[in-house]
């Protein structure tokens, strides 16, 4: 396995020390890493799942618009960040694996390396819990 770009290494280390849930994906949207607070959000530990393709991780939450209608994958901020290579910020609802509905605010931005190399993207989550 080849060594990851140093920007990815640094972002992963930083994420592992922060208290906010953080996801880190590669340029194809494969989930490279998520930290402990994100494990709670996802309902899975990183060492159980390892890296995951976007088709898998984007469905774990059942994301919904404010009116309850499903939110499509391409409208997720992290997907916008790695596909369109621009920052995105959005609030939406999820139903976690524990059945609880949560309102999340997500800030995502692309990670670009030296020479314009597209490295992937980062999403940071804030949640409010509204058990239903």
């Amino acid at each position: 396995m080849s060594q990851k770009d140093v920007e990815i290494i640094l972002m992963r280390q930083l994420a592992s020390y922060l208290a906010m849930p953080i996801f880190l994906v590669d340029p194809d949207g494969n989930l490279l890493f998520y930290n402990e607070p994100a494990e709670i959000l996802l309902g899975h530990r990183y060492d159980e799942t390892g890296e995951m393709p976007v088709e898998d991780w984007s469905t774990f939450f059942t994301p919904m618009e404010e009116d309850g209608s499903p939110l499509s994958q391409e409208d997720l901020p992290l997907v916008i960040a790695f596909q369109k290579r621009r920052a995105a910020h959005r609030a939406f609802w999820i139903r976690g694996l524990d059945g609880i509905f949560r309102r999340l605010e997500v800030t995502a931005f692309p990670l670009t390396g030296q020479g314009g190399k597209h490295l992937g993207a980062v999403a940071i989550f804030w949640e409010e819990e509204h058990p239903l």
């Binding site: 060594q3 990851k4 140093v6 290494i9 640094l10 992963r12 280390q13 592992s16 020390y17 922060l18 208290a19 930290n35 402990e36 607070p37 494990e39 709670i40």
Partner: protein
């Protein structure tokens, strides 16, 4: 303050005839204060032999874990005082955002990885998340701080009166810094090691090995030497030896370190069984 090295190997225990001088046990260091306060830094495989030596004259042991990678906790289940109801054992570990120390240690000290659960241990056991401000155990002042290594990891500085030692066995302060060391206020762990009498620090790789191990959380020995010099440490113990480095390789690394330039500190090879006195 009396310090004894019970395990100086990193990553994986490496017993064998080719490692018999430096030792094959993983990280474990004993610190004994003048008032009898007894600390154990990390619970690698070296802690097993340490535990056998502890009699009734040590009623309480405080184990300070830097992090929970296997090479730093693997000996814990075999630490004899844990089996002794008359012993008080405190285990301190780095904080986490989600799980307390008991829950994280229980991932290892529970079936199927280990046949005995934490709650079944006969000793009087207390677990603590290490506070990131200073605290005291007996006559020893302890400061813990987060340092650069994958996963929540702390280093420790221990002070008794006017003497101090620092223990950073797993540390990659040079990560992301092309010219290391740079400004002290931007160096991970610097406050812990600043002008310390004794520094025990990660020195796992050679300069040649490190480029292929960037981000693995460990230091190349030139980084360690540069850091110790920058911090004004008086003595440096090289630690966390790579399991692939036999005795002659480690001798070579030390010789090269000593010959490359005049070192402003005493360089002590981290050899299992070494005892050091401070103050």
């Amino acid at each position: 303050m009396r310090i004894k090295l019970w395990g100086t190997r990193g990553s994986l225990a490496a017993p064998g005839p080719e490692t018999v001088r430096y030792g094959g046990n993983t990280s474990c260091v004993e610190v004994r204060g003048a008032d009898g306060t007894f600390l154990v830094l990390d619970a690698g495989t070296g802690i097993r032999r340490l535990g056998i030596t502890l009699g009734p004259e040590v009623p309480r042991v405080d184990i300070l874990l830097t992090h929970l990678h296997m090479d730093h906790i693997q000996g814990l289940g075999f630490f004899r005082p844990l089996d002794q109801p008359e012993k008080e054992v405190h285990i301190w570990g780095p904080p986490s955002t989600t799980l307390d120390l008991r829950a994280r240690l229980a991932r290892y000290l529970s079936p199927p990885l280990f046949p005995v659960r934490l709650r079944e241990l006969p000793c009087r056991l207390k677990l603590h998340d290490v506070p990131l401000e200073g605290f005291e155990i007996g006559g020893l002042k302890i400061k813990a701080d987060l340092i650069c290594h994958p996963g929540p990891t702390v280093g420790y500085r221990i002070t008794e009166n006017s003497v101090s030692m620092a223990y950073l066995p797993d540390h990659e302060p040079a990560l992301g810094i092309p010219q290391f060391p740079e400004d002290p206020d931007w160096i991970s762990g610097f406050d812990l090691i600043n002008h310390v009498d004794l520094l025990i620090h990660d020195a796992q790789y050679t300069a040649t090995e490190y480029p292929r191990r960037v981000g693995w959380g460990h230091s190349a020995i030139p980084h360690t030497l540069g850091l110790a010099a920058k911090a004004g440490a008086k003595r440096l113990v090289t630690f966390h030896h790579d399991p692939a480095h036999d005795d002659s390789t480690l001798d070579g690394m030390i010789q090269e370190a000593c010959s490359s330039s005049k070192l402003p500190f005493e360089l002590i090879p981290g050899i299992e069984g070494t005892t050091l006195e401070l103050g």
